[in-house]
Every structure is written in C-alpha cells, then in structure tokens.
C-alpha cells in the first residue's frame, strides 16, 4: 500500500473528490497556483483548472460567505482557512449562517460545505499560528466537527466530510502533517512512513464521521484524546505501569458517546487530554458527558490535561504543550485516586 503523510493523504482525498464529483470545488488563500502554504492542494489546480481550485482574496468571512452561496447553488465547496487562528473573521458566517440554514428553512436550503483548517501548536508559530479552536465550534448546533490524528483517517474522514450533506469543520493538527509526534520535541522527527496509519490506499474510501476509535485497548484507565494528542497519549501510556485504553475521539460532533461510555464503564478512570485551552474547552464537554454516563463506574475524578488558559506563547511552547510529563502525572494521579 502506498505511504502517505497527512498532507498527501488530504491532497489525495480532494483529488479523488474533485475527480468523482464535478460539483466539488476547492477555494482558499494561496490554494490554487501555489498549492497552499502547507502544500495540501499541490497540483490540484493544474489538474482540475482554475475554476475548480480557486485562489481567494484574503477574507475568511468572504470565503465562507461565498461558499455557502455555492453550496446553495449545488456545489460541494471545500474551503481552506490558512490557519485555524484566522477562522474568526468567518465566525459569523459559520455560526449564524452555515450552521443554521437547514434548520431555519426547514430543510429547503442547505450548504454542504467543508471547511478545512490547520490547527494546533508545537511549530513555534506563536499565538496566531497555534490555536486549537475546535471547542468553540462544538457549541454551535448544526455543524459537524472533525479532527483526524493520522493520514489514513485524514483521507477517509475528509472524503466523508465532502460527501456529507451537512457542513463540516475539519481541523488538521499541523504538528503531525509530516509525521506522528509523541510530544518530545528533542527526538528526531519521525515520518509517517514508519507508522501503520501512514499506509493509505490510493483510491476512494471513507472513514465514517461520528465514530471514535479505540487505538489502544486497555483495562486500567481510559484516555480520551484526538489529533496530535493521540500520539502523546500513546507515548505516555508506554511510560506508565498501567494498562491504558486510548480512544481517538476523531469526531467532536457528533460524539460517539457509546464507545466512550463502554470504555469508562470498564476502566472506571478517565483522563481527557487536548491541546486547546482548558477552561470551557471541549474536554469540559467530554468530562461532563462521562460523568453523566458513567457516574457509578467512576473510581476517581476525571482529570483534564490541556493547554494552559493563556494564549499560546512562542518561547514557552513546550511548557505550554500538554506533553508526556503532564499526561503521565495525570495518569498516575487518576490511578492512585479513589
């Protein structure tokens, strides 16, 4: 099977969908001639033409506003927001329009739009190239929110997102574009070709939206994570004595509660980890849900390990990043408790 990194896998997903469906178009800042600042759309304009893979003015609100109109007119646009930190100028179009169009028209209008955006830190990007704003979008009813943790899922989920008749906000953890990252910045970079999920079929396939994945089965505690943190969690699990079950949430909305419940009912202990800031982050929803669903199974308080509640600082990203050490400490705390 071919080896792809996450960028190639995402590129392949768009390539396949542009090929299969003439209604699919790709639009964003620098995505056309140049192929995107992360090269995710490399070669697509050459292959499908400048009417299908379109460079856009630097106006995130305009991009999202216009792709909604395109969606209403029968296309399936894939919009790239260059960095998740720059999605806010489009927030109103997402929250007030994209998310609510089907509802307010009782299903008469909808816009099957996918918004892709690289998120997360660990690339010395400072506070405007490192954010993980997924939590905000999960509070808006009417959009699906997805974040893959590996090339295989990235391609399969992006194809599902493009095919979905509902709008999908698709976050790509840029720290793992080129290889899995276990949270240790001093180790040499690992390419995806060394990872089983770097094996990505050339052709069409999809990974369903709405399903979490147990990436490591275990008995002693459950670690809920997604994106880059899936790899950090795996590394941390190797450092502790315990037999951790690691779940890659993958789809923040809709959330696969059943898989989470099953796990925590078994383990009775739960650590939630994400790179986004903690206060009112998505981890709060996970914690509240687990608490509601598994109260009688819980043997210890659920612990959240998250980015500190500050902007992402350029110089202190490794103090900020919820790395192995913090995760190990949390795991030990949860195991010792109760």
């Amino acid at each position: 099977m071919p080896q792809m990194n996450m960028i190639q896998a995402l590129n392949s997903a768009m390539d396949i969908m542009l090929g299969r469906d003439p209604g699919v178009i790709v639009i964003g800042e620098d995505v056309g001639y140049f192929g995107g600042v992360f090269r995710t759309t490399d070669g697509l304009q050459r292959k499908y033409g400048e009417h299908r893979v379109i460079d856009a003015p630097i106006a995130e609100g305009g991009i999202i506003g216009s792709v909604i109109g395109m969606g209403v007119n029968g296309l399936r646009p894939v919009a790239e927001i260059q960095f998740a930190d720059y999605i806010y100028p489009g927030f109103d179009q997402i929250a007030s329009q994209l998310a609510k169009l089907r509802y307010r028209t009782a299903g008469e209008f909808c816009a099957p739009v996918t918004i892709r955006s690289p998120c997360g830190g660990g690339i010395r990007g400072g506070q405007t190239h490192s954010q993980s704003p997924e939590g905000l979008f999960t509070h808006i009813c009417g959009i699906k929110v997805v974040m893959p943790s590996n090339p295989y899922d990235a391609k399969g989920l992006l194809i599902s997102a493009i095919e979905d008749d509902d709008p999908v906000v698709f976050f790509e953890p840029k720290r793992i574009y080129n290889g899995p990252f276990d949270g240790d910045p001093d180790k040499p970079a690992v390419p995806w070709s060394t990872h089983p999920a770097g094996e990505v079929p050339e052709g069409y396939y999809s990974v369903p939206i709405g399903r979490a994945e147990v990436v490591r089965p275990g008995e002693d505690l459950t670690i809920l994570c997604y994106g880059t943190m899936v790899h950090v969690a795996q590394a941390a699990a190797r450092l502790v004595e315990a037999d951790a079950e690691i779940i890659d949430v993958r789809t923040m909305v809709p959330l696969d509660v059943a898989t989470l419940r099953q796990s925590v009912e078994k383990t009775g202990r739960c650590v939630i980890v994400h790179e986004a800031t903690r206060f009112s982050g998505y981890g709060a929803e996970l914690s509240a849900t687990i608490q509601e669903e598994c109260f009688y199974s819980l043997e210890a308080p659920i612990v959240r390990v998250c980015g500190w509640d500050t902007p992402y600082p350029h110089a202190f990203e490794w103090q900020y990043f919820p790395g192995q050490k913090r995760l190990v400490a949390a795991i030990e705390q949860v195991l010792e408790a109760g």
Binding site: A59, N73, D92, R102, F109, A258
Partner: protein
C-alpha cells in the same frame, strides 16, 4: 480631556418637532441621466453612481433613455403587485396589533424596489431578499396564504415555526431565505453567482440590503468577491434614509452616495429613484443583462423612504418628524405608477379603486384560509417534535435523546 471635542458626529437633518429637511438628497430630473450600453466599461460610467436615474417625469410621462418601454399589461401587473404588497402589509400590521402574529415588518413606500426588480429578472435568477422585500415574493407569484402561514408559525409554516414572521424562503420560486443577520446573504449571493459561472449557467443572482447594512463586513466581502471573479450578481442597496433610529449619514451617506462605493472596486454602479417603478425596472434589467453577458456585477442604490416604522417593535415618532414622508421628494411609488398609467395608458381612479378593493378582498380571503391552518393560539399546531428536525440531515443520537426527554416531560 478638557479640550474641545473634534469628533465629527453625523446629525439627522430633522428630529421630532423639527421641519423635515431633504435638501441633502441629490436629485436629477427624469430622463437626464445617460444610459450606457450594457457592455460598457465601468470607468466610462462613473457618473451613474452619483446621478439619479428617473424615468417618470413630473407630468407622469416616461422620458429619457432609461424608459423601458413596457407594455401596458406589464405596467398594470406591476401596479397590481405593488398594491397587493401594500394591502398585505396593512393586513399583517393590523393582525400584529391585534396580537394574532408576534411581529411584522412592512415595506410601505418601498414597494417599487422589489416588485419592479423581480419583474425585470428571469424566473430562474436567484433572489436573496432582505426582510423588507416582500414585493419579491408577491411579484414572483407566491401565495399570500404561504406568507401568512409563516407569520402565524402555523401547521403550514414553511419554516416549521422556527423563524420569526417575515423570514420567508421559497426554493421553488428561487428566493433564498431571509436572514435576521444583516448583510449575511450578500456574499452568499455572490457565491451563488460564482457557482453559476463555474457551472456555465446563465443565471444571475440578486441581493437586497438596507443602506444601514452597508456598514457590515459582508458588504465589503460581497463587493470584493463580486469584482474579483466578475460574478453575475446584482447587489442592491435600498437607501430608505433610516436604519431604525439612525439616519443614513451613520452608514456614511453624508459624504457620498451608497452607489459610489462600487466604482472603487471596479463595479458598475447606479443610483436610481427607488420610487419610480420604470426606473427600477430599467436599471435592474440593464444590470441583469450585463451580468448574463459576462460583464460582471452591478451595485444599485435605490433611493427611497421607509414610510412606516422599522418594525412593529419600533416607534419612529421618537426619532424623526412625524410628517417626514409627506415631505419626501420622490413621493409614493404606488401613486406615481398609478398617475403614469392614468396619464399614458387609460388607467383611472375608478379602476384603481376597484383593483384596490379586489386585492383587499383577496387578502381577506387568504387570511381566512391561512388561519384554518392554525394560529398562535388555535390549532392545528405544528408538531413540536419538529423542533429537533433539520439541525442535521439525519438526527444524531444526542438530539434523539433530547427529543425523548422532551416527550417524557410532556407526558408527565
């Protein structure tokens, strides 16, 4: 902070108790403004953004190069649509005052803007309405019963009770959904038009906003994307002088017309007498032809006056002279088309009155039918379980569960 403030703060020309003053409205005589070819270059028509295209002159005759030379029949249809819009508005306003509907927004004084535009466009052109363009619906033949059912949130409400009154949509009639978020549909219309161009379709999109709404970000997004991709779209600004309590100067109208925003983007832009049915028709047709030929977007400012309150929640006597509308130099669009028909096409006061009463009866009949589908207080009601539908195409687990919770509670 003791020095004299130097901030310029726009002042309304007249406030309650003062004499209406429309001296700031720049007028051109009917017939005075040139009509460029539809494929003319933008730079060769910059005057259009400051002039005022008018066709009906003071003697009620159609004059000048913008005269669309409509058939008498079409003029009568236009008059009928405008009168029906007004009759509908009047009835709904009354119903709101009686507590039969929760809210309403009338378009009194601005009927020509939407009716003439809808008639000038092709039926497959997509319209992105604002909350004050019910004339688009009526001119496209929407059943009043449907509109009323929406305002009643009753069992036949197209929005299934999810929207406040007047937030209509009509996919079969190619009319998009009215949004409560000002200007949000402007870039959407441009995107729709871009998609038409991508697909190679001939369809044109058109959108309407108020002059106050031009200050929103989406105005700029729409103009930028429209200009960059030369989208086949008509961007209409209805300058009715007021945005709730703030006069048009607070959106920047003190210095330049709203049409004047367009040429700086390289967009063809026209300022038109919005109370002149013929002028609105002609200008819209010109813009639609231009878009359809691939000559790109047009920005149209319709100069008109909001004769009524902003909405049923508003009381304009708190912020503007009560008699402003009477002083409005561009008159009443209905009266002007009527006079034109009398002057040129054998229309008469008697026929006019007969038509008015026919339409009022029609509105009454529609209302009586609409309430058989339910009112706010009497059934048939919408199924409240519908509350959970259409958030997504397929209902996800958490919504199924919440629906269940609601049902259990109702049963208690």
């Amino acid at each position: 902070m003791s020095r004299t403030p130097k901030l310029h703060v726009p002042r309304a020309p007249a406030r309650p108790g003062e004499k209406p003053d429309f001296s700031y409205v720049h007028l051109s005589p009917a017939g005075a403004v040139e009509r460029p070819e539809v494929h003319a270059r933008v730079r060769d028509m910059s005057g259009l953004a400051d002039a005022l295209v008018r066709v009906i002159d003071d003697d009620h005759h159609a004059v000048g190069p913008w005269d669309p030379h409509l058939e008498v029949h079409d003029l009568q249809v236009g008059l009928r649509h405008m009168l029906l819009t007004r009759a509908f508005d009047e009835r709904m306003l009354r119903m709101q005052r009686q507590g039969r509907i929760s809210f309403y927004m009338q378009s009194k004084g601005e009927e020509a803007v939407s009716v003439a535009a809808a008639m000038a466009m092709a039926p497959t052109d997509m319209l992105f309405p604002s909350y004050r363009t019910q004339g688009l619906q009526i001119a496209r033949g929407r059943s009043l019963v449907d509109l009323m059912c929406q305002c009643l949130s009753n069992s036949r409400d197209m929005c299934k009770g999810r929207q406040m009154p007047v937030m209509y949509h009509w996919s079969r009639g190619n009319i998009f959904s009215v949004s409560g978020n000002l200007t949000s549909h402007y870039p959407q219309a441009v995107g729709w038009a871009m998609a038409a161009a991508i697909k190679g379709d001939d369809d044109v999109a058109a959108a309407w906003i108020g002059e106050g709404s031009t200050a929103e970000a989406d105005f700029h997004h729409a103009l930028t994307f429209g200009a960059v991709y030369q989208a086949p779209v008509i961007l209409n600004v209805i300058n009715n002088q007021w945005a709730i309590s703030t006069f048009q100067g607070f959106a920047g109208g003190e210095r330049r017309s709203f049409a004047a925003r367009g040429p700086g983007y390289g967009i063809a832009s026209i300022r038109v007498d919005g109370n002149d049915f013929l002028a609105v028709y002609a200008v819209t047709r010109w813009a639609a032809d231009r878009a359809r030929r691939g000559n790109g977007p047009t920005l149209i400012e319709h100069v008109t006056y909001r004769a009524g309150a902003h909405s049923t929640s508003d009381d304009p006597s708190r912020y503007r002279p009560k008699d402003e509308w009477e002083a409005w130099p561009l008159g009443d669009p209905v009266a002007r088309l009527k006079q034109h028909l009398i002057a040129e096409a054998g229309w008469s006061e008697a026929r006019h009155e007969a038509l008015e009463s026919e339409l009022r009866n029609h509105v009454d009949d529609c209302w009586n039918e609409a309430i058989t589908y339910g009112t706010m207080t009497e059934g048939p009601f919408l199924d409240e379980n519908e509350l959970f539908e259409d958030v997504f195409r397929d209902m996800p687990a958490h919504l199924i569960e919440q629906r269940e919770q609601m049902r259990n509670l109702q049963e208690d």
